[in-house]
């Protein structure tokens, strides 16, 4: 009997050891990846003059060619599809631990101000799950999952998916780290969507506010940017006006924190500039990047807004 218990114990210990080594190995390989922008951030190897954070609007709306040409700033885009605030905050915090060159930071705003979206692009971030800020914020998104990932040996492995293994052999392309020049499709634009209330959590807004103050304290100007949304679809977001007013409340120009609202831009009136009702296509991306770059430089240089800025329209008056 004792002999058998010993056998089982030895087997369990060996298996656990192999699982832990495998886990460590995967984390190690991932952290060393040369073109993974998040690995670069956590290795403190990115420090441009202009840094962009946010979800899909961040990665899809800021044209690297246009921004470089009009601002002349070195620039990096940390945006990723579906990456909402709870996942962006630890990235910004990590960045602030080593930042030296950055002068301006864009946070691409989302009308969604909730915490329960789920962890997106998980395979990029699991290697950092045990790190302080990532754990702290991811825990607010999916508490049970993140807790088990940190403390149960092998559980983290179960959170990986085929995309993870695929990305080990097929690393992301470095040139997409600066953003896209846009997608030339208009097939996902809805003419109408049913009226709905966007999720709004005041605590989430306060966390963003606190983050902007932290960034500002480092001498970095912060631009909270709300991208254009296709008006025909977007007018059904019933509490959009309120959400915009809450974003506006974060603004503190004396501290270099600005809120730039492009939902009132004429760009939003034209379906042809969108590939989905929340995302600009290549043509829209070019116009928006142009307008944004001029506006940002005007704010930085304290000059008049750019003459080629598109005229605002009243959308939320009713």
């Amino acid at each position: 009997m004792n002999n058998n218990i010993k056998k089982v114990s030895v087997f369990v210990i060996i298996t656990l050891a192999i699982i832990c080594i495998l886990q460590y190995g995967i984390d190690y390989v991932y952290k060393k990846r040369s073109t993974d922008k998040y690995a670069l951030l956590f290795r403190h190897e990115i420090d441009p003059e202009l840094m962009i954070f946010g979800s899909s609007t961040a990665i899809k709306h800021y044209n690297p060619r246009v921004i470089k040409k009009l601002t002349g700033l070195s620039y990096y885009n940390m945006g990723y599809d579906g990456l909402f605030y709870m996942q962006n905050i630890p990235l910004v915090k990590e960045y602030l631990t080593y930042v030296k060159n950055c002068k301006y930071m864009v946070i691409s705003c989302s009308p969604y101000l909730g915490k329960d979206w789920g962890i997106m692009a998980a395979d990029f971030f699991y290697p950092y799950m045990t790190d302080g800020p990532v754990y702290k914020y991811y825990h607010q998104i999916e508490p049970a999952k993140v807790f088990k990932a940190r403390y149960v040996p092998g559980y983290k492995l179960t959170l990986l998916n085929k995309a993870f293994y695929w990305r080990i052999v097929h690393q992301p392309k470095a040139d997409t780290n600066l953003g896209f020049e846009g997608i030339n499709e208009i097939n996902q634009v809805f003419d109408t969507i049913p009226p709905y209330m966007q999720i709004y959590d005041e605590d989430m807004l306060q966390q963003i506010k606190s983050l902007t103050r932290e960034v500002s304290a480092k001498g970095i100007k912060v631009f909270l940017v709300m991208s254009p949304y296709y008006v025909e679809a977007d007018k059904y977001m019933l509490n959009m006006k309120y959400i915009l007013s809450r974003y506006k409340s974060i603004e503190d120009t004396s501290k270099g924190i600005y809120f730039m609202d492009y939902t009132t831009d004429t760009l939003a009136l034209h379906k042809k500039y969108f590939f989905s009702h929340t995302h600009l296509n290549a043509e829209g991306n070019e116009i928006f990047s142009n307008t944004f770059s001029h506006d940002m430089m005007a704010l930085i240089n304290k000059t008049q807004p750019t003459p080629n800025a598109l005229r605002p329209v009243e959308r939320y008056t009713k």
Partner: protein, 490 residues
């Protein structure tokens, strides 16, 4: 509670350790309480339905045993009606209501029978059949009525097989609950190996195949030809591995505590006929239908000669299909099995003569391939949303092949199945096929459903390495989406 959940990872060792720590006289209560927790984890209130059938059948068992003459039959019928009544209400009410409404609508009259918004109690078909086998066996005199209410409740509710079988017979399991079980390393090791094997089948293979299957079956009308064929073949494997994986985990979980459950699958896809396939597929259900429906039917109709067997088979498989779900597609699925078996029954000699002209290996491989092909095609009815969708898939399996045999064609198929990135799609499909090939190779090395036979006689480091690798693969390349088991819906 799902076997493939984190909760079960805690539940199982806690229940097992407590089981061996407790004195024998308290074990039935411990297992019953654990089974209640296991069942109530999903929809707690449905435990009342179970309690109702348990009370009915417990009393019926004793009454049938004590009664004589026609009263025995009367009590049996009462018990069966109660069991089938519950099953009919929860599982089949809406089906009949819908069809009656449709029938009246077709004749321009109205019968607005209201549909019920009820969720099917999990595992209802399984434990109802298990409960019915108890009273039938008592009626037949093969089993003594259980006087201990707790033990009888455990017979119906034993958590390893409560929600998806195997559908046990009282002769096999009831006496085991009275026996004093001692911890045995051999049972523990064999049980754990079965559990690991079951998880490997379910999480690494079945759920991985499900990704592609679900992708195609979500909008099957967008496909034709090869993508449909791949989805149809993958689904057959998914169904088999999902369910047999569950059965292995159930058998293993019980085995660790020293209980032996029925083996439910015996490499069905190596069968040379559909008849053989159903002897190897969901054995506890097919033997249930054989014992309690098919055999009594052909005995009652013995004057009909061969036709009694044909009728018995069609009736049995009609009900077997209907058991799977309250929809016409399941009835068609069942009937197609029945028709194939009847065909095999009538043409046995002719086929034997015809196939004997072929070399043994060709004969054998062709038979296996044809059997699998037919079964896979019938599984379209199992997986499709409805009859219309099933007919579309069947009708388009052999269309659109002309474009496949080119680089562009292959790229299109891969993109259709694997998403926008062609290489990623190819990687997914190759991974799935690779895993299936490895699984088949491993399964061929197994004897008597014993996982240990795969690496029997090898040095310790090979055997341990094999099990360790399986655990690592389950963790690292398993699909974890909190997916339930397919057979839970029944």
């Amino acid at each position: 509670m799902l076997f493939n959940s984190f909760e079960f990872l805690i539940f199982f060792p806690v229940v097992t350790i407590l089981f061996f720590l407790l004195p024998h006289k308290f074990r039935w209560f411990h297992l019953l309480a654990a089974s209640c927790i296991f069942y109530m984890y999903l929809i707690p209130v449905y435990i009342l339905i179970l309690l109702f059938t348990i009370i009915i059948d417990y009393i019926a068992g004793i009454v049938i045993e004590n009664a004589t003459g026609p009263k025995r039959k009367l009590f049996l019928i009462f018990s069966l009606v109660a069991n089938i009544g519950i099953l009919a209400f929860f599982k089949y009410y809406n089906f009949f209501a819908e069809n009656i409404n449709l029938l009246f609508h077709a004749t321009n009259t109205h019968a607005n029978i209201k549909l019920l918004e009820i969720v099917l109690p999990i595992g209802l078909s399984f434990h109802t059949f298990q409960a019915m086998s108890y009273t039938i066996e008592i009626y037949r005199g093969n089993q003594k009525a259980e006087r201990h209410f707790g033990i009888y409740s455990l017979y119906v509710m034993f958590y390893p097989q409560l929600v998806a079988g195997p559908i046990e017979r009282p002769q096999n399991i009831l006496h085991q609950f009275h026996e004093k079980k001692h911890f045995s390393y051999d049972n523990f090791a064999e049980g754990m190996k079965l559990i690991i094997w079951g998880f490997f089948k379910k999480i690494v293979i079945a759920d991985r195949l499900a990704v592609i299957v679900n992708y195609v079956y979500k909008n099957p009308t967008e496909y034709q030809g090869l993508p449909l064929v791949i989805a149809v073949i993958f689904f057959s494997f998914q169904l088999y591995l999902d369910f047999s994986g569950y059965s292995d985990i159930a058998l293993g979980t019980a085995k660790v505590m020293g209980y032996d459950l029925m083996v439910n699958f015996n490499r069905p896809f190596s069968s040379k006929t559909i008849t053989e396939l159903w002897r190897r597929w969901h054995i506890s259900l097919s033997t249930w239908f054989n014992d309690y429906l098919f055999t009594p039917t052909i005995t009652a109709l013995r004057d009909w000669g061969k036709e009694a067997i044909a009728f018995g088979l069609l009736l049995t498989f009609f009900l077997c299909g209907f058991w799977h779900g309250a929809a016409w597609k399941f009835i068609v699925f069942g009937l197609l099995q029945g028709i194939a078996i009847v065909y095999e029954f009538y043409t046995r000699k002719k086929r034997k003569k015809l196939f004997s002209k072929l070399p043994e290996k060709v004969n054998s491989s062709l038979s296996v391939l044809l059997t699998f092909g037919y079964f896979a095609a019938t599984c379209i009815f199992f997986r499709a949303k409805d009859m219309r969708e099933a007919m579309y898939i069947l009708g388009h399996l052999f269309t659109g092949w002309s474009h496949v045999f080119s680089v562009h064609g292959i790229k299109n198929v891969v993109t259709l199945l694997g998403g926008k990135d062609t290489y990623y799609g190819a990687f997914n499909i190759l991974l799935d096929i690779g895993i299936l090939v490895i699984f088949e190779w491993l399964q061929r090395r197994m004897t008597n459903n014993k996982v240990s036979s795969i690496v029997a006689g090898k040095p310790t480091f090979v055997r341990w390495g094999f099990y360790c690798l399986m655990i690592v693969l389950i963790l690292a390349i398993g699909v974890y989406k909190d997916d339930s088991f397919i057979y839970f819906q029944f």
